[in-house]
């Protein structure tokens, strides 16, 4: 008998089969993912998802009997009261008498349920979405560089000395040139002394000569020669900007209901997950405003209650202030997302337009304005009156391709709005 420990074998032997399966079921999985998204809390979006997909695209049909036709026999266990000749009403739903039920892979019409990993889920979720202007415009001017290992070189600075490499070369050279080892010399010297002690002068002389020759050899062949020395080589590669900051601006004045805030939150969360997938490091700045604006932490941003008027421009000013102070554009990609119900203090709208068009947009990679409605969907029909802010922003929009504005009425629309905003192939403002 043989015992083999297979546990260290590579895992995920089925991975490629799984990918094929997902590719096969892509259409179904994708709609299931979107369906799931509608139902779940946005804070959970980042987790894996259990999806149930109809067996349509992934059925493996085989010929089999239709059990509702003809005469069949069943032998089943567990008889308690039946005697020969009893009539049993035909069971519905096929349980019980049917004997063998459909196999798991059988032809059943049931949905097929399985779990997507977080990665798979988000891949599906963000498939064919793309960040506009992913490459920083100012990449050319950027001075940030990374050092990358690029093999070994014979020249360099002592701090980059590669000791293993150097010694490896040294050893190879010593072996090939047959440099005597220290231990050999020691042994020979001892032999000379022993011979002297025994008084065998001739032998001692011969050994001493040998020792001399070897000593000379080891002197001529150095332990480490300059040709052995190797240095680690580094290359300078320009570093793309991999840091992004996301400004979340929200109106928290009394006119914003909880439902509206919830919508806004969902949108921000989606944007956040999306950015996290694209950038190595993402900062999030929360700015809320009533008639004044302040930077707050996430908890306060979403959950604390405020009352007061609405002056949108204060939030934009705050954003500019923070961006200038902490997020220089040569290092950071700046994204802005603003959510509001569209109310604004009458005279402030023109100021907002000036700020947005003149200062905020040139700074940003992308700026999205989402107007949240009351869930009635009225504003989406286009019949109702545009809000102050919507009208104001509409003036800015045509001139800036990286500014987009959308309206959202209820949670189910969040994904499609998000999808529209980031669809591949350019943003339609």
């Amino acid at each position: 008998m043989n015992i083999v420990d297979r546990r260290p074998n590579p895992k995920g032997k089925s991975l490629s089969n799984r990918q094929r399966f997902l590719a096969r079921a892509r259409v179904e999985v994708k709609s299931a993912v979107q369906e799931a998204l509608r139902k779940r809390k946005v804070a959970d979006v980042g987790h894996g998802e259990k999806v149930a997909i109809p067996t349509r695209g992934i059925a493996e049909p085989i010929f089999h009997h239709n059990r509702r036709t003809g005469k069949t026999d069943h032998v089943v266990p567990g008889n308690k009261e039946y005697v020969r000749g009893d009539e049993i009403p035909r069971p519905t739903g096929g349980e019980g008498q049917g004997g063998r039920e459909g196999s798991p892979d059988g032809s059943g019409e049931d949905a097929f349920e399985f779990t997507l990993s977080k990665e798979e889920f988000l891949d599906m979720f963000f498939e064919d979405l793309e960040l506009p202007d992913l490459v920083k415009k100012s990449l050319k001017d950027t001075t940030a560089v990374d050092l990358q290992r690029a093999g070994y070189t014979v020249t360099g600075n002592p701090s980059n000395l590669s000791i293993p490499r150097t010694l490896r070369h040294s050893m190879a050279r010593r072996i090939s040139l047959r440099r005597p080892k220290l231990s050999e010399l020691e042994a020979l010297r001892e032999q000379v002394e022993e011979a002297r002690a025994r008084g065998e002068d001739e032998e001692a002389e011969r050994l001493a000569h040998q020792l001399e020759v070897r000593k000379r050899r080891s002197k001529i062949i150095p332990y480490i020669d300059p040709i052995d020395v190797r240095y680690r080589r580094f290359e300078r590669v320009p570093r793309p900007n991999t840091e992004a900051v996301m400004f979340c601006l929200m109106d928290v004045s009394g006119s914003m209901t909880e439902a509206m805030k919830d919508l806004a939150k969902r949108f921000f969360m989606l944007l956040h997950i999306f950015l996290v997938r694209r950038y190595r490091h993402v900062d999030v700045v929360f700015i809320r405003h009533t008639s004044t604006a302040e930077e707050v932490d996430e908890e306060t941003f979403f959950y604390s209650r405020e009352t007061g008027g609405t002056v949108v421009s204060t939030a934009l000013e705050k954003m500019l202030e923070i961006a200038r102070a902490r997020y220089p554009t040569d290092r950071w990609n700046i994204y802005g997302a603003q959510a509001s119900d569209g109310d604004n203090y009458g005279a402030d709208s023109s100021r907002c337009v000036a700020l947005l068009g003149g200062e905020v947009l040139p700074l940003c990679q992308y700026f999205a304005y989402v107007e949240v409605g009351d869930g009635m969907g009225g504003s989406l029909t286009g019949l109702s009156r545009d809000s102050d802010l919507w009208r104001a922003y509409s003036e800015v929009a045509p001139a800036h391709s990286h500014f987009a504005m959308r309206r959202v009425g209820d949670p189910a629309q969040i994904f499609s709005v998000f999808h529209e905003l980031f669809a591949k192939g350019g943003v339609r403002a």
């Binding site: 297979r6 059925a59 239709n66 026999d73 567990g78 020969r84 035909r90």
Partner: protein, 523 residues
Amino acid sequence: MLNTRMDAAQLRADMPLFTGPNWDFGSLRRVYEAIEKIAFDDLGLDIYPVQIEVITSEQMLDSYASVGLPLMYRHWSFGKRFAYHETLYRKGLAGLAYEIVINSNPVICYIMEENSMTMQTLVMAHAAVGHNHFFKNNYLFRQWTDAGGILDYLSFARDYVAKCEEKYGLEAVERVLDAAHALKEHGVNRYAHRSKPNLAEERQRMEDRRAHEEATYNDLWRTVPTLDKEDDETAESEKQQEDTRGKLGLPEENLLYFIEKRAPRLEDWQRELIRIVRNVAQYFYPQKQLQMMNEGCATFVHYEIMNRLHDKGLITEGSMLEFLHSHSSVVFQPGFDDPRFSGLNPYALGFAMMSDIKRICEDPTEEDREFFPEIAGGGDPYGVLRHAWANYRDESFILQYLSPAVIRKFRLFHVADDSSKPSLRVDAIHDEVGYRRIRSALSRQYDLSRREPDIQVVDVDLTGDRCLVLAHFVHDGVLLEEKTCRSVLRYAAHLWGYTVKLLEIEAATDKTLKTYESGPEGK
């Protein structure tokens, strides 16, 4: 070497081989050797060499996905199976099997690292010895399964499919495999084919026949009136058709074989892919006919071995209780009205029947003497069982050995389901009149040729529109499920390249009940 070590083990027979739940490679080896000794000496089993492989639960899931084989070509359906099992496992709805055993030479037996030492012992007795003996000795496995070559073949298949994917694209390969998978149940040879006569034998036969004709020539036959001319012609064309069918080997029940050899538009690599699916299906074909016996044999063997280990003091009382707990859940048979019921448990039925054979051999009742005169009281239960394991399959085993005692124990009853009547009728129960009827009905239930639709290639018009005609021979009025039938036919048409027809023909009357037809895509 082995013997000396065993002697040493026997000397301290009152010492258990292990204590506590943890296992290590040393104790696995010791326990296996003790098990093997019992298998050889007490039960007289004959097994392939064993290779035990320790794997993790994740690897076990992987093995599930590739239908229990260590290697498999890539296909999305295996990914689907993996996703399915993984969900069940993660939700805690289903535990994993404790072991998977592969019918190869040497037999490969996977055991999971999570198992306790008692479970490893059970698993080794069950799979490495029980299944192993059955694999090596049952006539169906001997006839159909090349245990020595299967792993090499699978590795060839995997590489070949991968090469095809590289050369012809994933999608093209997938389409062929999908279609072949749909027909794989009908891609097996159910009977060994007559070996092809060689030229010399054929010539000899012709010589013999001519000689016979010359020797028995009688001029009288010439005067017998023949059919008139017209009839002659139709008969002639009929005969010609019959001839073509004969040459094509029709009727042919191995659909995939026929398509592989005769489909007009397939390329060589596509034929080879079909062949691979066919060969894998053929490998599994005996297992489907032997499931109950195979599991019963393994369960019976592990039960005997564990009890003997316990009798010899080689396992502790605690281990024995742990074993009995999992054994009893393995052979648990819920009744038909139990929500857990999902058909007869092959472990339960197999184990019960084999234990009962042992009882009949050793301690028969009057009833047993009447039912089984040749084995009752014979006193050699293992010999009888070894004979049964080697020479029967599920269907014939039940027909031969299902005893009234087992029927009573399971309280089996026979229900006749006639779809034209509003209710089912109980036809037989566990009483004097019912035993034989239940026995033959249950045997029919295990008969693969009744369980699976009887579908054959009956005709093909190679000179005309190249339409392939399949026939489903309907027994007892049981038709095919319509929706899946249409999908499968689409796949068949994809492989065949031209229209495929399927006729549902009532076997008793030759009447065509229903016709399906499917053309290849784009037509």
